[in-house]
Amino acid sequence: MRLAGEALAGTEITRRLVLHAGLLAAAGFALSGCGRDDELHLEASDIASYGFLSHAQAAVLSDVADIMIPRTETAGASDTRTIQYLDQLMQTWAGETTKLEVDDFIERLENRAQATHQTAYLNLPDDVRRNLLQGIDKASFAESSGDASGTSYRRVKWLIFHIHYTSEAANPDFILIPGQYHGDVSETEYLALVEENRY
């Protein structure tokens, strides 16, 4: 499936554009009241390439990943194409339990948005979505948490972080071949060695 025709291929699109492309409408999401201008930084070809996630699920997870790992002075989850890679993992690596947990997390997130705000998750304002996820995060890692929603959240969160932090953009100082070992260097010396041997 191509996003809004071939004309969009290769162009950077915003979440709003995704929404208006009708991909989420098909899943029953309301389109009004978004009020956001944050960008997904997706290529249209990326959107078209999801194989496990529905486009609606991909949009939700992309938003979740960006809230978890926003772009700051360093790359964010969208920059590292985390959800596209997660979608690939679901097709090539994940077992049935993980696949169910991904689905379960998204469903529970939507249900929670509906129950507390009477609208779809993506329709919520930025601060509300962030607060919603912060609350889920806190509850999921609370010592007494043993509920299923915490389980699926923790699994999805771990995957998102693992994918992002094993990406090239998130590892600017990675050195594949140090070529030498020094067991006692100052910070200045260390940084100079990193600079000399950067991947």
């Binding site: 360093t74 690596w93 771990w158 594949l176 071949i177 070529g179 067991g183 006692d184």
Partner: protein, 571 residues
């Protein structure tokens, strides 16, 4: 292709590679049979040039393996369960073995040319005089028919070729050798080692001796082996050939003689005995793919399939003349299975070095050799233990497994932490006659070979060691100047799985007396003079130091002896 050779070597791992090299260099037309697939060196299966983002599944083992019940033991092992080198390990679902339900045994294998020499930890220590005297001294097991001095020149021989980095420490119980430049300790390791070495007369922390080329010599360069690049990705395979393996070193050395033939996918099921001459004449092979049987003949046969597999082959080589298995007149074949054991250790923080860093990833840590050979006052067990470990300085990892999201959580990632230090014990398991390997009476593998059945467990002597090692580990780190020291050990009522250290030994032990041992002082079976066993199966005790260097030395020594016997017309 000819099926007749001067020598056959079964297995191509650490000891098989050495047997091949020595026999070929002495002019014997030698066939190496490897049950696993062929691998080149460097191999397309090596993953040592992959950055984290290049790795398939970002380094995660496919979850389908869990669903299919595959690689269960490798997963229990933990640190080896990585997608980037899982291809070098065997799935017991495809290659089963059995054990009593309440006493699982961990048999970690690698079925490819080079065997486990691709994935070994490369720690290379000479055993000391006390290690070879221990059985005679305390009466456990069978007295070794050799002593350190018998093996010392062969340690020299194998160290020079393999390339072992290490310091000359001058410790009587851990002899020095012909070492390459030692790896530098990190500042934290140096700090802790200095404190420990000042605090104890008998406990020494040294840099680990490992088979990574810190400074290649001509003998290494001649085989295309290069200097270690401080990547510490050894288990992925090393395209530089910087750590010693059969693929990088011994097999190429054997090949350049023109005397080597290697056949992969060749599963040796048995050694065939001529009852009239009491000599082995053939090795029976089952093709991995076609399951067709073939015979290869030779004047001398070296079994180097691993402690378990070599013993299994001998047990499966029963005949009218040898009803309990080949070379089993003593009835001791399959007994005295051993392994090192851990299950106790400690960790702590190294203070005062937060402004110091390390660059590169050295391929070894530290070593504290066994200091408990003697029963000191208050020591209620025989033998002893050493420790291995090291210091590391890490950064805060990502928050994927803990609370925190958003900019705040992101900003915490990558912060340098203080140096931490960890050590874990390597205990000497006593040789127990009834820790055994037998052929399963009715279960066979896909090639019709009876499964190995392993019934082994640790006893009270080992439990006492674990308890003492926990105390010692904490004491050592505190003496080393560490703070926040925490110790751990496995509870007394929890099963300690033999095989967990991948140092299986015994099964065809060496000894003076044919009535109670399988091999003589030359690793030659007492019963069948042209069959030698020089892998872990031959070990009469297991010491505390990693055994591979000793396998190498024993193999080179036995190979030279076999050649001399052939030249004298005695085989």
């Amino acid at each position: 292709m000819s099926t007749d050779f001067d020598a056959i070597v079964v297995g191509s791992g650490i000891s098989g590679g050495w047997a091949a090299k020595e026999l070929c260099e002495q002019g014997l037309k030698t066939l190496v049979l490897e049950r696993g697939r062929h691998l080149d060196h460097p191999s397309p299966e090596y993953t040592d040039f992959q950055a984290p983002w290049d790795m398939e599944h970002r380094g995660m083992v496919p979850e389908i393996y869990d669903e299919q019940g595959r690689y269960r033991m490798l997963k229990r092992k933990g640190w080896t369960y990585r997608n980037e080198f899982i291809q070098f390990f065997v799935d017991e679902k495809d290659y089963p073995y059995t054990y009593p339900e309440d006493r699982p045994f961990m048999w970690t294998r690698g079925y490819q040319l080079g065997g486990r020499s691709l994935t070994w930890a490369r720690q290379s220590y000479r055993w000391g005089p006390k290690d070879f005297e221990a059985n005679a001294k305390d009466g456990h097991g069978i007295d070794w028919p050799i002593r350190y001095d018998d093996l010392a020149p062969w340690y020299d021989h194998v160290e020079a070729f393999a390339g072992i980095s290490g310091a000359q420490n001058g410790l009587p119980d851990l002899p020095d050798g012909d070492f390459l430049k030692p790896w530098e300790m990190s500042c934290a390791e140096d700090y802790v080692a200095s404190n420990i070495n000042r605090s104890f007369a008998d406990r020494h922390m040294i840099i680990g001796r490992c088979a990574n080329l810190s400074e290649p010599r001509e003998v290494h360069n001649a085989l295309g082996r290069g200097r270690c690049q401080s990547r510490n990705y050894c288990m992925r395979g090393c395209s530089y050939g910087a750590y010693f393996s059969s693929l990088s070193a011994t097999l190429p050395a054997a090949e350049r003689t023109g005397n080597l033939t290697v056949i992969a996918d060749a599963i040796v099921s048995e050694v065939i005995l001529d009852p009239e001459t009491q000599r082995a004449t053939h090795v029976k092979v089952i093709d991995h793919h076609t399951k067709q049987e073939r015979l290869y003949s030779a004047r001398v046969i070296f079994l180097n399939a691993s402690a378990i597999a070599s013993t299994q082959i001998l047990l499966n080589s029963s005949s009218e003349a040898a009803p309990n298995g080949l070379a089993n007149a003593s009835g001791q074949l399959g007994n005295y299975i051993m392994d090192h054991f851990g299950h106790a250790g400690a960790s702590g923080t190294v203070p005062g070095l937060d402004d110091r860093y390390e660059f590169g990833r050295k391929p070894t840590g530290i070593y504290i050799p066994n200091y408990r050979h003697e029963r000191e006052e208050g020591q209620d067990f025989d033998r002893g233990f050493g420790f291995q470990g090291g210091a590391q300085r890490t950064r805060t990892g990502h928050a994927g497994a803990r609370q925190g999201i958003g900019k705040a959580a992101k900003s915490e990632i990558g912060e340098w932490q203080s140096w931490t230090f960890g050590i874990g014990m390597f205990g000497e398991m006593l040789p127990y006659q009834d820790n055994s390997l037998r052929l399963h009476p009715n279960k066979t593998d896909a090639w019709g070979i009876p499964l190995a059945h392993l019934d082994c467990h640790i006893r009270e002597n080992e439990r006492k060691m674990i308890r003492q090692a926990e105390i010692d580990a904490a004491e050592l780190l505190r003496a080393g100047g560490c703070t926040n020291v925490e110790s751990v050990r496995t509870p007394d009522d929890e099963h300690v799985m033999v095989g967990g250290k991948t140092h299986e030994m015994g099964g065809a032990c060496m000894g003076h007396d044919p009535a109670n041992s399988v091999l003589n002082k030359w690793n030659q079976t007492h019963d069948v003079a042209n069959v030698f066993v020089t892998d872990g199966a031959c070990m009469s005790s297991c010491g505390t130091a990693n055994p591979s260097l000793t396998y190498m030395a024993l193999t080179a020594r036995a190979a030279r002896h076999a050649v001399e016997l052939l030249q004298e017309g005695l085989l």
